[in-house]
Amino acid sequence: MITKLKNEWFGNIRADILAGIVVALALIPEAIAFSIIAGVDPMVGLYASFSIAVIIAFVGGRPGMISAATGAMALLMVPLVRDYGLDYLLAATILTGIIQIVFGVLKVAKLMRFIPRAVMIGFVNALAILIFMAQVPHFLGISTMTYVFVAVTLAIVYILPRFFTAVPAPLIAIVALTAVVIFSGIELRTVGDLGTISQTLPSFFIPDVPFTFETLQIIFPYALALSIVGLLESLLTSQIVDDMTDTESDKNKESRGQGIANFVTGFFGGMAGCAMIGQSVINVKSGGRGRLSTFVAGALLMFLIIVLGDLVVQIPMPVLVGIMIMVSIGTFDWGSFTYIRKAPRADAFVMVATVAIVVVTHDLSKGVLAGVLLSAIFFVAKISKLKVDKAIESGVIRYNVQGQLFFASVEDFVAGIDLTERESKIHIDFTESHVWDDSAVGAIDKVVMKLRQNQNEVLITGLNSSSRKIVDKLAIYNQADAKLSVH
């Protein structure tokens, strides 16, 4: 236990510190941009990123994964902040933490398996589109210079890495272009125009909200949505980090860890966050593997803000916008276009529907919920396809049942059998079927009894062992007439 912990922290010191530095630098613009999306001061996102990263370094289940303030969470908070203000957001953050801890204790991570790939793909695509849409008001129709700076930023972040990778390109874009603006006096909006940056450490305080049932009613829906979306992105990210590092991680511990991090962060003036796919990939690519990398990323971020806060407020908004466009392009799953063509129609539809619902409602949790429900309906529709073939062999009418027999497919089963038959030998063969529930047994009963009323000799054959178990337990047709055997 101790050696494992020691290894998770200090097994990779040099590379973890270097990767942590790279991530801290990449986190700053995102934390600011996500605060702006949520409609709060940049400090709320910066404190959150510091606090969440540092706490998750200790309590997370996936070493090397980066958690901080994220776009997915920021987008969910917009109406809460707009209608009720920052204190309600902090209260919701604390409640999010509590809900996530409960989810973690109840081992909800297992339920992730029930979220189909189509919904996950829709989720990241919707997230990318929303992040991009959130940037539009910051560059569209402001000034020509704004367009120029967005374009130059994009050029730097996409072209420079082809030749030079020692320093992250977004950092070069920020430093170089901020310097250009400061020294040339070009008129551009800056981060400082949208909020203030205080060069102090976060401090503990209890959010100023009335402790009433009404408050709970306001924040609970938000906290629930934040909990679900936060865990969804965190668990997806942990799967990606697991794959990249070829190691396993504790998903329930991660859920609890996310909860603890959000719970504490809410008391220190930070907004709810979760794991970040992009930053975690950057961390692993830069050599980060251990808990130390996450810790360094968070701690260094805070240090840089305290030291360089004056300069950070002078970052021109178009540069930040350019970087966020890069983030949204990186978040989007470009394989989706092939997916839409090649995946089964129902899956492609679920994916597109998830994206559409999120883009319309601006609520990732609604898209995910709708996507899961749609997939479930499609799954039931697919699995409930049942075929009954009829053949007459040497005076015996044989029905061959193919498919799953359960509540959704019993009608097809009953319809597939001719109940008007009289005085015949009828065999119903279940070799290619499976009997699942009461409805299925009820349907078999009904069919057998009806046929028998018409003086038919009915034989049920080919039940597999679990089907036979349920039929034996529930069916009444073979109790009414002991001569009829099931085999």
């Binding site: 790939r117 799967q239 690519k285 799953d333 394989g335």
Partner: protein, 138 residues
């Protein structure tokens, strides 16, 4: 002479061509072939997102080296498949330099110089940095 050959495979036709040369050289001295496949970091997000499960993803990767494996089975060569994770070029280099090999065989996509600049040539990187003889199969 070549008792331990590392064959870099990425599921392409080039890799299969390289495998044929690996077979010929392995047969010279009853050599063993280690088939190395690198799951590219760049594709990690895409692959995890599109895979039904971990098991399905592992299976898909294994399928990529399947043609090479079939060839080695048909030729009765002792082999082992190793799936690594990272950037293809540096990962192969690091692995070979740590484990050692008598020969590294790698297929080349035959990129022109512009593509090479943009995409980066894996075989080029391996030739430059690996501390073992390298055979690039065009």
């Amino acid at each position: 002479m070549y008792s331990h050959i590392v064959l870099a495979a990425d599921g392409s036709d080039n890799a299969l061509r390289a495998a044929k040369h690996a077979v010929a050289l392995a047969k010279l001295g009853d050599g063993k072939i280690e088939v190395v496949y690198v799951a590219d970091f760049k594709k990690a997000k895409y692959e995890v997102l599109h895979a039904e499960s971990n098991e399905a993803l592992e299976y898909e990767r294994r399928q990529k080296v399947r043609p090479v494996e079939e060839l080695l089975i048909a030729e009765a060569i002792t082999y082992e498949v190793k799936i690594l994770h990272g950037e293809p070029g540096p990962t192969i280099v690091e692995y070979v330099n740590e484990q050692g090999a008598d020969l590294v065989i790698i297929g080349s996509r035959g990129l022109n110089s512009l593509q090479e600049m943009v995409l980066g040539s894996v075989s080029h990187k391996v030739v430059k940095r690996v501390k073992a003889p390298v055979l690039v199969v065009k």
